[in-house]
């Protein structure tokens, strides 16, 4: 299956490990990510003002690229556009929803985008990689596991942008199960963090790091208290706030024991034994190798 893939800015740089692990995992399951030609930044946050249309241009240009890919035969009648970054997912999907609900807005935007040869026809559906994985048989996932880690205690962390607002969420905003179901199919030990949908503070990290340290401390401690050895997420900003900011948490709380925060696809690539070059662990601040390798020895 070939599917248009929207990387976004961070996946090419600070979250390269998310991209390489995802592409490798997808490939091992027979899914080929075809990077959208000439994709542009989505804007990172959705426009929330009713009177501001200009911020929808960037998402819509990307949708037109997907329509063009179909026209050019790069993909075959595949109008789903897969995202990895949860922020991109949210921003793109919110714009798509607004255009569906407000035909007039779309007409205005189509009218003034002189550089586009085609108007956006609203064929595109924004999906997250977790939704693609949801449709893959548990048996198929199981067969790919070469490095089983049944004792590894994994706690999923959703954050905000995959779930809220509920009109665009991939699952129930209060009690999501999509990552839990995936981890169960991957035969690791699932640990529930009651704060798994709590905001990590997001972009406030740019202006007020203390907010992030305080929220992160609570989120990480709740996962650890539930027994988690690693946390998995799908947002490069949550990953940064929860992983990198542990440096500040340790400075404030000397007894704080660090915990690795991975992208769910890094864990999958490791379980599937896809090779070190597809894990990208060197980009994680808290090194996950120690806990994963220890587990590997125990379970073999």
């Amino acid at each position: 299956m070939k599917i248009p893939y929207y990387p976004g800015c961070t996946l090419k740089t600070k979250a390269k490990n998310f991209e390489i692990s995802s592409i490798a995992v997808a490939k091992s399951l027979g899914v080929e990510f075809v990077e959208i030609p000439r994709w542009n930044c989505c804007g990172a946050v959705p426009s929330l003002s009713s009177d501001d249309l200009i911020r929808h241009f960037a998402p819509i240009r990307n949708f037109i690229r997907v329509e063009e890919m179909n026209k050019a035969g790069i993909v075959d009648n595949e109008y789903r556009m897969v995202t990895l970054c949860a922020m991109c997912y949210n921003t793109l999907k919110m714009s798509n929803l607004r255009m569906r609900r407000n035909k007039e807005d779309l007409d205005k935007i189509n009218d003034v985008m002189y550089l586009e040869t085609e108007h956006y026809k609203q064929d595109v559906e924004v999906v997250h990689f977790l939704e693609i994985l949801k449709d893959i048989d548990a048996d198929k996932l199981q067969k790919n596991i070469k490095n089983p880690l049944p004792d590894l205690k994994v706690s999923p962390y959703y954050g905000c942008t995959l779930l809220r607002p509920k009109e665009i969420g991939i699952d129930d905003p209060e009690d999501p199960k999509i990552m839990e179901n995936l981890l169960t199919n991957l035969s690791v030990t699932l640990v529930n963090n009651p704060l798994k949908t709590r905001c990590c503070g997001s972009y406030q990290v740019v202006s007020d790091k203390d907010i992030i340290t305080s929220l992160g401390y609570d989120i990480l401690n709740n996962a650890k208290r539930a027994g988690a050895e690693v946390i998995v997420t799908s947002c490069p900003l949550c990953q940064f706030n929860l992983d990198r900011r542990q440096k500040d948490i340790i400075e404030l709380h000397h007894d704080f024991e660090p915990i690795p925060v991975l992208y769910f696809t890094q864990l999958m690539a490791f379980l599937f034994d896809l090779g070190e070059e597809s894990y990208g662990f060197e980009q994680n601040y808290i090194d996950p190798k120690k806990v994963l390798n220890r587990k590997e020895l125990v379970s073999n």
Binding site: G8, C9, T10, T13, K14, A15, C41, G43, A44, V45, L48, S49, S50, D51, D52, R55, C85, M87, C88, C160, R164, P165, K166, P173, E174, T197, R198, C199, G201, S202, Y203, Q204, V205, V206, S207, D208, K209, I211, S214, L215, P236, L237, F240, R244
Partner: protein
Amino acid sequence: MSNKLILSDKNVEFTEKVNEISGEVVTLCEQCGTCSGSCPLVAEMDITPSNMMRLVELGDEEVLDTKTFWVCASCFTCTTRCPRGIDIAKVGEALRQIKLRKAIDRIDIKNIAEEDRKILPQVAIVAAFRKFTS
């Protein structure tokens, strides 16, 4: 004896401005406090989200001098839970926009430590500058 609250034209105008930008009807708020009880950032705010809603309902422009809507990270927890169906995150955005559209920026790239500039993910910088600058 009942006390009647009389709003000036200026008050009404401000409330309508927020309604217009947010696309919401703030006067639907009944002050139940669900937003404040749900907000993960309420401890960092000077007034609670429900206080913010009340001031907007009353058309009190002093709300623009509070920290609350700047601290809000648009996580949509309040929006998801509001029993009156108000998208409170959008009300916060409207208040930010009212300030930003007067070209009053909240952050300056020069004030971000060099070490942070090196390590921050792009998505954080783009998001912050979209939210905090005009």
